[in-house]
């Protein structure tokens, strides 16, 4: 669909998916991500697209999260969509409310007319079927292991990917728990046409985040993430840290939105990423952090994954008694 070398796509991450990381991934043969929410004005957003294009001539995705937020309003969402259409970006990863309900069918028509491919990140087949019906080009199927906001259906990538691939006609990109060649090979075996990773790309040389954060992800294990925010209807998965313990404690004693929001605000997260203070704000990473053991360049990472995936599939092939790859 995009003419990329490897079906390895970066997922949207607030404050992290900026031109440098985005271009590094696309140049390495994968598909980088530029997260629109980083930019509050049209000029800044357009400038970021143009800067990414200076750094790479390869396609990349834009992330637009269609959720109500204090900082980013529906007006921003409209602006992002219009700029993406004008700039004819390769594809958009939407999450949250489906585009028809958030901005109307005309937004979909506008983008399709401009040749922008539309993907929506969903956690349930019913949501995927809706996206398929209204004209999306593909689905990011997010299992419960993902960092960010997994759907509270709590279905895992292993089961969800297989179910989505068997049910949908449009391509499925597997999300959640993928960070190396083995997990990528497994996702493709389950029927995914590609994989999306986010946490893994934080621990790369090109990601603009404090080194302490990258080192923390290498150190921490798969059981050290936790689901929170269930009580306010916005489930999230993040690294188990002091601030998340505090958030869980507030939720446990029935503390509401007002108490929680100051601890969870986007600007606080930005500060934590920059200062390298893991205990300052919730860092939304997935269970795949247990599979992160180093901090390579994006090119090294993507090439190692592709080589390993091929190697593990060859092993599987020998086991079932097929011919060699």
């Amino acid at each position: 669909m995009f003419g990329i070398k490897y079906p390895i796509i970066c997922g949207g991450m607030m404050w992290l998916c900026k031109p440098k990381l985005c271009a590094a991934i696309s140049n390495a043969g994968g598909m980088g991500n530029l997260t629109a929410g980083n930019y509050e004005t049209e000029e800044a957003f357009r400038a970021a697209i143009q800067e990414t294009r200076r750094l790479t001539d390869k396609p990349f995705m834009v992330n637009i999260t269609l959720l109500p937020s204090v900082r980013i309003t529906q007006e921003h969402h409209r602006m992002y969509v219009r700029v993406c259409a004008e700039e004819q970006v390769a594809g958009i990863e939407f999450s949250g409310t489906p585009l028809d309900k958030a901005l109307g069918m005309e937004a979909i028509e506008l983008l399709k007319k401009s040749g922008v491919k539309l993907f929506h990140k969903v956690g349930a087949v019913r949501h995927a079927l809706h996206a398929e019906k209204i004209g999306y080009d593909g689905i990011y199927a997010a299992g419960i292991e993902e960092g960010g906001h997994p759907l509270n259906d709590d279905v895992t990538t292993m089961v969800l990917t297989a179910k989505m691939a068997a049910t949908l006609k449009i391509p499925v990109v597997a999300v959640g728990g993928i960070a190396d060649g083995r997990t990528m090979a497994a996702a493709l075996a389950l029927g995914a046409q590609g994989i999306m990773m986010a946490s893994r790309f934080i621990a790369t040389k090109e990601c603009e985040v404090h080194d302490r954060i990258k080192e923390e992800l290498v150190k921490r294990q798969e059981y050290e993430t936790v689901l929170y925010g269930k009580s306010i209807g916005l489930q999230g998965r993040g690294l188990r840290t002091k601030v998340l313990e505090e958030i869980l404690a507030i939720e446990a004693r029935g503390g509401g939105f007002e108490e929680l929001i100051p601890l969870m605000s986007g600007l606080r997260v930005k500060e934590a990423w920059e200062k390298g203070d893991v205990d300052y704000a919730p860092l939304m990473v997935g269970q795949s952090i247990g599979l992160i053991n180093d901090i390579p360049s994006c090119k090294e990472l993507i090439e190692t994954m592709a080589t390993e995936a091929r190697q593990y599939l060859a092993q599987a092939y020998r086991a079932t008694g097929g011919t060699e790859i």
């Binding site: 259906d153 279905v155 089961v159 083995r182 075996a189 389950l190 599939l313 086991a319 097929g322």
Partner: protein, 346 residues
């Protein structure tokens, strides 16, 4: 097929039947072993005498390798483990306890021992005990598990262990087998998928439900039997989880269990109390769960029964024979790998 597990156990396909109470009965175990997999007999609800009789029954029904499980959580189950050793069961699968003595005794007669684990800490301990393999249970599995899912848990264990890993949780078809092998597992264990087969003793009502229910129709909670446990989402299950522990019911249900296992009730009662409050509470929880699972599996009672199932129930659409199922899984795994070979060669 050929993996470390097929070689170790002398079986045709690296596909195991999980030991599920009231499901993995001698007939079911033999059906899986006869079809080229490895059946694991569930001894949870059996007395030592019944366990011995069940093993002999399996041997009457198949001359292929088979296994039997032993939960080491409570004393009566340890008795069952001793019976497995006396009967020289080819593969012993233990969980929830210290199994080093089982490994020592089984290895004397050439038996193999596999531990069911939910994290790397347990898996390392099993390896230190001398276990021959582990079954790694991901979050999506039926019954007891933790938060980490198969996709992440399996490669993590494969990287950190020397002994083979058998993947459990989320596997029901050929794509799943291919995925497990790609993750580095040497085989898979399936429970939910085998429940919905012709030979399975699961009540027809629940076989039908397993086909109807979707991937998200499960509940994962520690308010069913006191441990984190995944069960089919039904009205009865939601009621059970909402209510939590009912001590009065536990009293009556534990009397049934004592009768069924041929233990005098006073002996069981004081045995449980002597084990300390947290164990006693756990056992009380389990006494009730036992009853609810039995109501589901044996009676097919959809109003009060509760059935542990995995998320993978949403990938089940039919009720084939065990032999058809195994052939189909292996065939589809090969097909999946051919498809991937094409992707990678282009």
């Amino acid at each position: 097929m050929k993996t470390k597990i097929t070689e170790m156990m002398g079986i045709k396909y690296p596909i195991l039947l999980s030991g599920m109470s009231w499901i993995s009965t001698p007939r079911m175990v033999a059906a899986v072993s006869n079809a080229g997999g490895l059946g694991i007999l569930a001894t949870g609800p059996l007395s030592p005498e019944q366990t011995r009789e069940a093993i002999r029954e399996v041997r009457r029904l198949t001359d292929k390798p088979f296994g039997a499980n032993a939960s080491l959580l409570f004393a009566a189950a340890r008795e069952n483990a001793r019976v497995l050793l006396e009967e020289q069961v080819p593969v012993i699968n233990f969980a929830l306890g210290k199994g080093d003595w089982i490994v020592r005794e089984a290895h004397k007669y050439g038996g193999k021992v596999i531990a069911t684990v939910v994290n790397l800490r347990h898996a390392r301990r099993a390896q230190d005990y001398g276990c021959d393999a582990v079954i790694a249970t991901g979050n999506e599995a039926a019954a007891h598990g933790e938060e980490v899912t198969s996709l992440v848990l399996i490669p993590h264990l494969v990287e950190n262990l020397q002994i083979p890993v058998i993947a459990a949780g989320g596997f029901a078809d050929g794509r799943g087998l291919a995925a497990a092998l790609a993750l580095g597992a040497e085989g898979i264990a399936m429970g939910t998928r085998f429940m919905a087969t012709q030979e399975s003793p699961l009540h027809e009502n629940y076989k039908k439900l397993a086909v109807e229910k979707d991937v998200y129709d499960t509940i994962f909670s520690d308010r069913f039997d006191g441990l984190l446990c995944r069960i089919m989402k039904t009205e009865a299950a939601e009621r059970a989880v909402k209510k939590g522990l009912n001590l009065m019911a536990a009293f009556f249900n534990s009397r049934d269990i004592a009768r069924q296992m041929n233990v005098p009730y006073w002996k069981m009662f004081f045995g449980v109390l002597a084990s300390g409050w947290s164990t006693a509470r756990q056992l009380a929880y389990m006494a009730n769960a036992f009853k609810m699972i039995k109501m589901a599996t044996e009676e097919g009672d959809t109003r009060t029964g509760v059935l542990p199932v995995g998320q993978v129930q949403g990938l089940i659409h039919d009720i084939p024979t065990v032999a058809e199922l195994l052939e189909r899984i292996v065939h589809d795994a090969k097909k999946t790998e051919n498809r991937l070979a094409n992707i990678f060669s282009s």
